[in-house]
């Protein structure tokens, strides 16, 4: 009844920071991060020891706060010396260099790289930074790979819960189907197993077959998702939520009842094909890219039209059944792929890992980041994961703190941190626009 429109403090703070660093290209930030990561690799361990932090802290020392609050000064020193100073130093250096050599040939050459190439270049850069950061501990590596999986899950869920405006809770069920299908395929093909017999193919092929197994897993998941997609033609909203809930329980219960899948005991022996960060990183990038493409295309935007007013969408030539189908099946496909990745990262799955709690966790990430936002999903997942890892020392209390944080965020920003908006990269947009004009000028239609 009453209107609540609060221009948030977050927005203005974000705006101020953005204004301050608007002209810094992403690459400069990445150089900054790389600098921080390298400094950490060089002196991190020694400095941490000197400051009494013990071993190199996994998450910037933040989680140590909850172990021993007296360490706070040391942690602040550590963060400033190891991360902030090198990063800012590098950023300013790049800025200065750009200014100094403005118009120089090499700079002009960089500026001529097409946008797509530029993005690939930056993504590679991101990967390098993450790679070095994860090099120092297996724990970080594991968290990063799971983060990738969660990003795929959150974004694919956003397609249905955000762009489509439904409330799906079956994400963990989709994940389970993908995890089991891909695991069975890989174990059958490449592992000498008690249940599935000797390996069918040489083990060396496993890494190359893995993508195929994931795609098959995704496809099978999408097929099972018809159980959810078809009812969506007739009903909307809450009932669909229940149907997805029933789907989740059915999947879980089915697995428990299928003997060769190990039932409730679980399933293991997955070949180690997702141990490298690169594999997960590439899949994550692919998923984000594909889904981003879809939701920014006019064809994909019709999903939001179905959400906002279905009869009007139908009248305006939108095939609403097809749109719903695509949204659900895409959601299911990528959740299945993510499940497959998850199974091979963890190397052990059981029905218990794909319960309602998993769905609730992904929902939490999604709504924290905000609906209808690709960057929001990524941000929400990263923040949630970071928070979860940082609060790990609190043990049980963590699961009282995280809900409280989420409740507060929901009350303050009911649409999540980035609901219905994207983090814009003005630098990139300017670039793309300039390119558009150049490429389009001669055509002149």
């Amino acid at each position: 009844m009453q209107q609540t429109s609060t221009p948030s403090r977050f927005g203005s703070l974000y705006g101020r920071i953005r204004a301050r660093f608007q002209d810094v290209p992403i690459s400069a930030w990445l150089v900054g991060m790389l600098a921080a990561v390298l400094v950490e690799a060089l002196i991190g361990r020694d400095l941490a020891y000197m400051l009494g932090l013990g071993n190199l802290p996994s998450f910037f020392g933040l989680s140590l706060i909850f172990k021993k609050w007296t360490l706070i000064p040391s942690i602040v020193v550590f963060i400033v010396v190891v991360y902030v100073l090198p990063a800012l130093g590098a950023v300013y250096l790049v800025r200065w260099a750009m200014h100094r050599w403005r118009g120089a040939r090499s700079v002009a050459w960089v500026q001529r790289i097409p946008t797509r190439g530029y993005i690939i270049f930056n993504l590679a850069f991101v990967y390098v930074v993450l790679h070095f950061w994860a090099a120092s501990s297996d724990y970080r590596l594991l968290v990063l790979r799971l983060l990738g999986v969660n990003i795929i899950l959150t974004l694919s869920l956003n397609l249905v819960n955000g762009w489509m405006g439904e409330f799906s809770v079956s994400v963990a069920g989709f994940m389970a189907v993908g995890a089991y299908v891909s695991s069975v395929l890989m174990v059958w093909g490449f592992v000498n197993d008690d249940v599935f017999g000797p390996a069918v193919f040489p083990e060396a092929w496993a890494p190359y077959a893995f993508p195929l197994a994931l795609i098959v897993a995704g496809a099978v998941t999408a097929f099972t998702a018809l159980a959810v997609a078809i009812p969506s033609f007739r009903t909307r909203g809450d009932y669909l939520a229940i149907i997805t809930l029933a789907y989740l329980f059915i999947v879980k219960s089915s697995i428990e009842n299928i003997d060769f899948l190990g039932g409730a005991r679980g399933f293991m022996n997955q070949p180690k094909v997702a141990d490298s960060l690169l594999v997960v990183f590439l899949w994550t990038v692919l998923a984000v890219w594909v889904m981003h493409n879809y939701v920014t295309s006019t064809l994909g935007k019709a999903t939001s039209a179905v959400r906002d007013n279905e009869p009007a969408a139908e009248m305006m030539t939108v095939n609403t059944r097809k749109v719903k189908m695509v949204a659900f099946l895409t959601h299911a496909f990528w959740s299945g792929v993510a499940g497959g990745l998850y199974a091979h990262i963890v190397g052990y799955i059981n029905p218990g890992s794909f319960g309602l709690v998993k769905s609730a966790e992904i929902l939490g990430m999604l709504y924290l980041g905000g609906l209808n936002s690709v960057t929001g999903s990524v941000l929400g997942t990263v923040l949630f994961t970071l928070l979860s890892e940082i609060l790990r020392p609190l043990k049980l209390v963590k699961w009282m703190v995280i809900p409280v944080i989420l409740i507060v965020v929901m009350i303050k920003r009911p649409r999540g941190l980035l609901g219905f908006q994207e983090i814009r990269l003005p630098f990139l947009e300017r670039r793309a626009r300039a390119e558009e004009e150049v490429s389009h000028a001669p055509a002149g239609d």
Partner: protein
């Protein structure tokens, strides 16, 4: 004629926003006790918003002042505007509780009243007297009645909740001309018993013949006001609202 009386309802600088859209741009008007006043205007001009603002169902702008019999309206939550100040509201589209019977709809309207049962009973009698058809249908579900009967119930329900002032939002909507006539007769009756009436209507002709004074609302601004006869004779009103 009303110069020395003090107004019962004073609205000053009423502003209403829906998100970024401004529905009312700071309108001011007043209603004297016992009067029938109408606000006419096109659909979307802000008539409904005006009534909803008085009933405190929508947020108003920071400059808005509203008093009712000397009380600051803005200090009252919506249900107390009804139960403590005595302003009832017949909303647009009637908004009856279709799953409740006629009698239950009326019974619910007594929720906040602290009067003894016999007083309430007298009100019920009065209402059934006014609209005998409701008495016949007291056990029928409100949702299954015809449009005209529903409109009677909506007015009856408002009469039971409170009767110092009644806000009426398009009571003629969807009524056949004959029923409309009956409805306005009944409203006249109610007014005679001492209830001030503020009426919002698209059917300007009907409204102006019924009311003593009128205001003309266009896209969130009051553009004309005056005694009904003057408005009925006004060429601009004629052209715009009375079908030329």
């Amino acid at each position: 004629m009303a110069a020395e009386r003090t107004p019962q309802l004073v609205v000053e600088n009423l502003e209403v926003y829906y998100g970024a859209i401004k529905a009312l741009h700071g309108i001011s008007f007043h209603v004297y006790p016992g009067e029938i006043v109408t606000i006419i205007g096109a659909n979307g001009a802000g008539k409904t918003s005006t009534l909803r603002a008085i009933s405190r169902l929508v947020k108003v702008g920071p400059e808005t002042r509203m008093t009712f019999e000397g009380h600051d309206l803005l200090a009252y939550p919506p249900h107390k505007v009804v139960s403590e100040l005595g302003i009832s509201h017949v909303p647009e589209g009637r908004r009856l509780f279709g799953n409740l019977t006629v009698w239950e709809n009326l019974q619910l309207a007594t929720f906040a009243r602290k009067d003894p049962p016999e007083v309430i009973q007298r009100d019920f009698d009065m209402v059934f007297d006014l609209f005998p058809r409701l008495a016949e249908r007291r056990n029928q579900r409100a949702g299954t009645m015809s449009g005209g009967e529903q409109q009677m119930l909506a007015v009856a329900r408002a009469l039971i909740t409170a009767r110092r002032m009644m806000l009426l939002d398009e009571p003629s909507m969807g009524l056949a001309p004959k029923l409309m006539q009956e409805m306005f007769e009944a409203l006249k009756e109610i007014n005679k018993e001492g209830t001030t009436i503020l009426l919002v209507e698209q059917n300007a002709n009907m409204a102006l013949r019924f009311a003593q004074r009128g205001y003309v609302l266009e896209t969130g601004n009051l553009v004309l006001e005056g005694p009904s006869q003057d408005l009925l004779a006004n060429p601009r009103v004629k052209e715009a609202y009375l079908g030329g």
